[in-house]
Subunit: 314 residues, 2 copies
């Protein structure tokens, strides 16, 4: 009997569904609006209804489905979403509740974790088994993958490398602490660094004339050899490289993969981070690879499908 997988990326705005062959060919994707009413009480039943409808429409039965993987926007341990601020959830046993609703095998992890698994399976990390995924977006998240399995951690904080401490203590993080990687490596972080240089130095820059500075504008300027933008990129890369040097002697991955909006700047990210990684990293791990993510917003659905194919997290 033909076997298929569903991968679901549950976000605070939309819930994305991917329908895959067992080998990871994406047959179809669709999305629904995430219902945030009643502290997200309808979210899981909406998912169950949509899966059931999709099965009927495709003349499939539950026995055709190996499983449903799902990524949620918050820390997960043992299939339980501990806290998802964007959904209004606190201690929701996603694995148990969704299993009871749909009677198909369910596996659950964090959204950054499933994005990392997606990149491992079908994206920039194809061919690797040991990978660290770093997503540089509005915030900074990550996934730690060892032998094809992602690590959740004891409170679901494995891969929360946006909150790794850095050398730079200038900026306060949303978490309340100064110096988190997120304060210098997220889209906002890059703008933080630029504003500091604009205000505290006389380094010439076209950025001084711009209002509403964005990370993209800064990386574009750096590619045009804008002096100030170039310095911003160095601070950004130095702090990421520094944190990667520690991660390199913790799980010792084969490759670091960079995704998220900021990583759209491309090779400049990889080249700068790698330069500082080589400066800070133990000699034995200097050959660790650095690559860009390839799946964009689809990484989550791919990874969620792989999560259930591969029997869950570590």
């Amino acid at each position: 009997m033909e076997q298929y997988l569903y991968g679901i990326d549950l976000g605070g705005t939309t819930t994305k569904f991917g329908f895959f062959t067992i080998d990871g060919e994406l047959i179809e994707k669709f999305a629904i609006k995430t219902d945030l009413s009643s502290n997200g009480a309808n979210i899981l039943s909406d998912i169950a209804v949509n899966i059931n409808n999709h099965l009927v429409k495709n003349q499939l039965t539950k026995s055709n489905i190996k499983g449903i993987g799902i990524g949620v926007p918050g820390p997960v341990t043992n299939g339980i979403a501990n806290k998802c601020v964007n959904l209004g959830w606190e201690n929701v046993n996603v694995k148990e509740q969704l299993t009871n609703l749909i009677h198909i095998k369910i596996e659950v992890s964090n959204d950054a974790n499933i994005a990392g698994l997606g990149e491992l399976w079908k994206g920039g990390g194809t061919g690797y088994q040991n990978l660290v995924f770093i997503t540089l977006g509005t915030g900074v998240g990550g996934a730690i993958i060892v032998n094809n399995h992602v690590i959740d951690g004891v409170v679901g904080a494995a891969g929360e490398i946006g909150h790794a401490p850095t050398l730079n203590l200038d900026f306060k993080c949303n978490c309340g602490k100064y110096g988190c990687l997120e304060t210098v490596a997220s889209a906002t972080g890059v703008v933080n660094i630029a504003n500091k240089f604009i205000n505290e130095t006389t380094i010439p820059s076209n950025l001084r004339e711009k209002s509403d500075l964005t990370a993209k504008m800064i990386f574009d300027a750096a590619k045009q050899e804008d002096q100030l933008a170039a310095k911003v990129v160095e601070v950004f890369g130095k702090n990421i490289g520094f944190v990667c040097a520690t991660i390199g002697v913790v799980t010792n991955p084969e490759v670091f993969i960079f995704g998220g909006g900021v990583a759209n700047a491309g090779d400049i990210i990889i080249n700068t981070v790698k330069k500082y990684f080589k400066k800070y990293a133990f000699l034995g791990i200097k050959d660790t690879a650095f690559k860009l993510a390839e799946l964009g917003n689809d990484a989550g659905i791919y990874g969620a499908a792989y999560l259930v194919k591969n029997e869950g997290t570590l």
Copy 2:
């Protein structure tokens, strides 16, 4: 039939053997001199001979033995010791060679990794499944354990946290890099910091009169409220706490366990490291436990036995 385990801790001077029940009761331990002649060519056959003799002496057959775990002093991947400087070994397939010599199931990992597993099984980490072991000795090593399995890493460098970069760039590491954790957290590292304060400050201290300063003298002085020694301990604890804060968002363990000669200083180690961990760590992981190791030099044989009981590394 009664089942037993052997755990072997192979060092550059002695090879220690532990003979265990399947539940981890140490029945007997013995040691032989490690034969370093001919680039360590006789080491594995010596081990095989000693195991065979021990079996005969105890009227046991190979079917009584679930397996033999072994820790070697260097990086290991897939049962292969990549480089053990102290033994003269390069790319020795310990798993394959020892299996061929003795025809009992063999599992191999790094010496710090097996010590961490030992502490998890029967030492300071009993009852935990997710642990980071940090050994503060002549050097600084470690073990990263996730769900009762230790991570080797792609070049065997997982847990090599002695080479994690720190905030302190004053001292050069044996690896050639400045600022490795080992330069401020090993026995030599603690002396490094003290000598720097002695030479560069006028802080009063009884240590100024001592020759051949040791880490023990410094921790003892700190316990007596020696001002300079107290500052040394702060620098030591700050850098370890800083690195632990990053590890905490990589694999997100339940507990950090500290072993090695320096950790004999006791609670002062835990208290100082924990203070700085709380300063640098992500709010979500601030409850991570910090404990002292309990097995001393026996950690390796216990962990080697557990390694084979538990089917190897991740």
